[in-house]
């Protein structure tokens, strides 16, 4: 959806999460920015190793939760006080304690569904240029921790970057060029 496509770059994989973590820190320190790790499961500490900040999703959740609260309070107060006031044994129209359950449910509803959508969109937006997942076999959903450095990176060099990745101890390092079809 948002993922920018890059058809050229270098791939190399690691077999253990710890190796991947160490390699990520080295790639980060070498000044690369258009790089990514494709992993079968999240690795603890990878955010820092890749030079990323903490995810900002909780802020979105907070804002969405507030929207949910305002929506539910607005609807219930407007209906029960102004649009359709009903007299139950002379009790006040503004019977706020009975508005709490729906307010809570609406808060959870907005926050949960919204956060899931925002997180997926944010993940897509943050993705560095990379080939569409099905055009390249990496084993990243099985048991490999795959490093990808895109040729769009400012520090990219045609010969230097594959050598650099090999120097990190990666296995199966290869240059991917889906346009040209060459596969080193």
């Amino acid at each position: 959806m948002f993922t920018p496509v890059s058809k050229k770059g270098v791939l190399g994989h690691f077999c253990e999460p710890d190796e991947a973590l160490a390699a990520a820190a080295k790639v980060r320190d070498a000044g690369f920015t258009h790089f990514d790790f494709l992993t079968p499961f999240p690795i603890h500490g990878m955010e820092e190793a890749m030079g990323q900040k903490r995810s900002w999703i909780p802020w979105a959740t907070g804002a969405l939760a507030l929207c949910g609260i305002l929506f539910a309070q607005g609807l219930q107060n407007w209906v029960m006080i102004f649009d359709w006031p009903m007299n139950f044994g002379g009790k006040p129209f503004w019977s706020w304690p009975s508005f709490i359950p729906i307010t809570f449910e609406a808060m959870v509803f907005w926050a949960a569904l919204g956060s899931a959508l925002v997180a997926i969109a944010a993940g897509k937006r943050d993705t560095v240029p990379q080939p569409p997942p099905m055009e390249i076999e990496t084993g990243a959903t099985v048991d490999r921790f795959v490093l990808w450095i895109s040729a769009t990176d400012p520090k990219w060099s045609e010969s230097g970057t594959p050598e650099f990745v090999k120097g990190l101890g990666a296995n199966g390092v290869r240059l991917v060029d889906l346009e040209g079809g060459s596969d080193v």
Binding site: P40, V108, L113, S115, A116, V142, D143, G172
Partner: protein
């Protein structure tokens, strides 16, 4: 039993070698003391690639005869449900036992029963996640699926309970051409609509978000181009990028943190349906915690029932080990005792309140015409789970299975007792009556199991039944990693090109 060589990576064990006790590494702890490490969560020296194979296999091959047999039974029961519902809508409420004075009958009983079953799935996926209980990874996917299907079953009952089910959309507050006629937001029944629909949708989203990486795994294993395309669309193009994992993990944590109070709120609101009515036996403040605990109790029983089948028929013994079953048995025993405590507290309060009506209702509940139902409830829920004080019985598949069935029988009767006994003795003895289930009450209850098992069997047919990416995360990399070489990487590509 001799243990395998103990090392810091004593992670290779068979299911039969598990004892449920920590592995003691003599002298490996700080200051030369013993170090106790938990037994591995995944047994059988599995590699990460084995996990994919073992779990995706069931979604990739033509279903077995056993699956077809089970599916045929489930579909038949679903047919019973459809026929019953059509008959009910055509002939009217007169065909079921609901009548004066018991105006809330099996529909409400079944509704509370099913919604309660669902609660364990959320508890496993959300609460145990927040508590960092890593054993949840083996069972959370199936338990969450169970939640969704149980909520789907539960959702039928309030709608048919309306009597005129075709006006069910009147419960939704939207600007309409009927006045506009709004719902009464002071009513617990209106809260129910919001609670159940929020619960169903949030559970579905939580489940789906958890599925994304696994759908990508299924996609990457697929050989047929259409299968690849469908699973790719379902996985939203997931590729395992850590730039996605970063937000994903954050969102997953938040969903767990939101689902936790949500699950407590849902059964609390269900209990408000009873507790806010001025009716002896219902009008008590103990109801919300009592209902929530009962829900978790019955849900865990259902999880144990389902997991027994998954261990036996789907060869999941390496992922859902006896240790998992034992942990669930412990939760079952704890919640069973809490439920028993709630039953006792109700009696104490009935006496201590000095209310004549409360006192009568509870005496009548235990020793009146429905004493037999109370007896089933108390025995199954408070006494039977006590067998789990013995470790041997906690780790015995048949004991677990039988107890889990008995608990769900008991929990159905708990709701039956609560609904029927408070209503069948009105304030005026001239309005006393009994509640008689007709064949249609039974067929709708039995048919709802058909819906539940049909959905569950379709789930095990098409989706990964264990959370693959989460299970991989709790395995020991030293054991699970691939012995990968450059040649390995080229092999699948070469095979594909050939």
């Amino acid at each position: 039993m001799t243990r395998p060589e103990a090392s810091p990576y004593a992670t290779v064990m068979d299911d039969s070698q598990l004892t449920g006790r920590p592995i003691v590494l003599a002298g490996a702890g700080p200051y030369g003391g013993d170090l106790e490490v938990p037994e591995p969560l995944v047994t059988g020296a599995k590699k990460w690639s084995d996990v994919d194979q073992d779990i995706c296999m069931h979604a990739e091959r033509f279903p077995t005869k056993r699956w077809w047999a089970a599916f045929a039974v489930a579909l038949t029961l679903l047919g019973v449900l459809v026929v019953s519902l059509v008959t009910l809508l055509y002939a009217g409420m007169g065909i079921v036992g609901v009548n004066h004075p018991v105006g809330w009958g099996t529909f409400i009983v079944n509704f509370v029963f099913w919604i309660g079953i669902g609660h364990a799935g959320t508890l496993i996926s959300a609460v145990l996640y927040l508590f960092r209980q890593q054993w949840r990874t083996g069972i959370n996917r199936a338990a969450e699926a169970m939640t969704l299907f149980a909520v789907a079953c539960a959702g039928i009952f309030p709608i048919i309970h309306l009597g005129r089910a075709w006006f069910a959309y009147w419960l939704v507050p939207y600007p309409n051409a009927r006045g506009p006629l709004w719902i009464n937001f002071n009513s617990p029944l209106a809260w129910d609509i919001f609670a159940i629909s929020t619960y169903g949708l949030v559970s579905a989203v939580f489940w789906y978000v958890g599925l994304l990486p696994d759908l990508a795994t299924v996609r990457d294993r697929a050989t047929h181009p259409w299968r690849k395309r469908i699973y790719n669309a379902l996985s939203l193009g997931w590729n395992g990028s850590h730039r996605m994992w970063r937000h994903y993990e954050s969102a997953y944590m938040i969903l767990a943190a939101l689902a936790t109070p949500l699950v407590f709120s849902v059964h609390t609101i269900v209990s408000f349906d009873f507790a806010t009515s001025v009716m002896p036996g219902w009008h008590t403040t103990i109801f919300p915690p009592y209902f929530v605990i009962g829900a978790i109790f019955s849900g865990f029983a259902m999880v144990i029932t389902l997991m027994t089948f998954m261990r036996g028929y789907f060869g999941m013994k390496s992922y859902i080990t006896l240790n998992h079953m034992e942990s669930m048995a412990k939760i079952l025993m704890l919640t069973g005792m809490l439920v028993g405590f709630a039953y006792s507290t109700e009696f104490f309060m009935a006496w201590y309140s000095g209310s004549e009506w409360e006192g009568f209702v509870f005496k009548n509940r235990a020793f009146g015409p429905y004493g037999w139902a109370y007896f089933i409830m108390f025995t199954c829920n408070a006494i039977v789970p006590q067998v789990f004080w013995w470790k041997k019985l906690r780790r015995h598949t048949w004991v677990l299975f039988v107890v889990s069935i008995l608990v769900n029988v008991g929990m159905w009767f708990e709701r039956y007792v609560i609904v029927v006994t408070s209503l069948h003795r009105d304030f005026l003895p001239s309005s006393w009556g009994m509640y008689h289930l007709t064949k249609w009450d039974w067929s709708i209850l039995i048919g709802s199991f058909g819906l539940f098992f049909t959905l569950f069997l379709l789930f095990v047919r098409f989706l990964p039944v264990v959370a693959i990416s989460e299970v991989k995360g709790v395995m020991d990399p030293k054991v699970a990693k691939s012995a990968s070489t450059d040649a390995d990487l080229a092999a699948p590509r070469a095979a594909q090109e050939a």
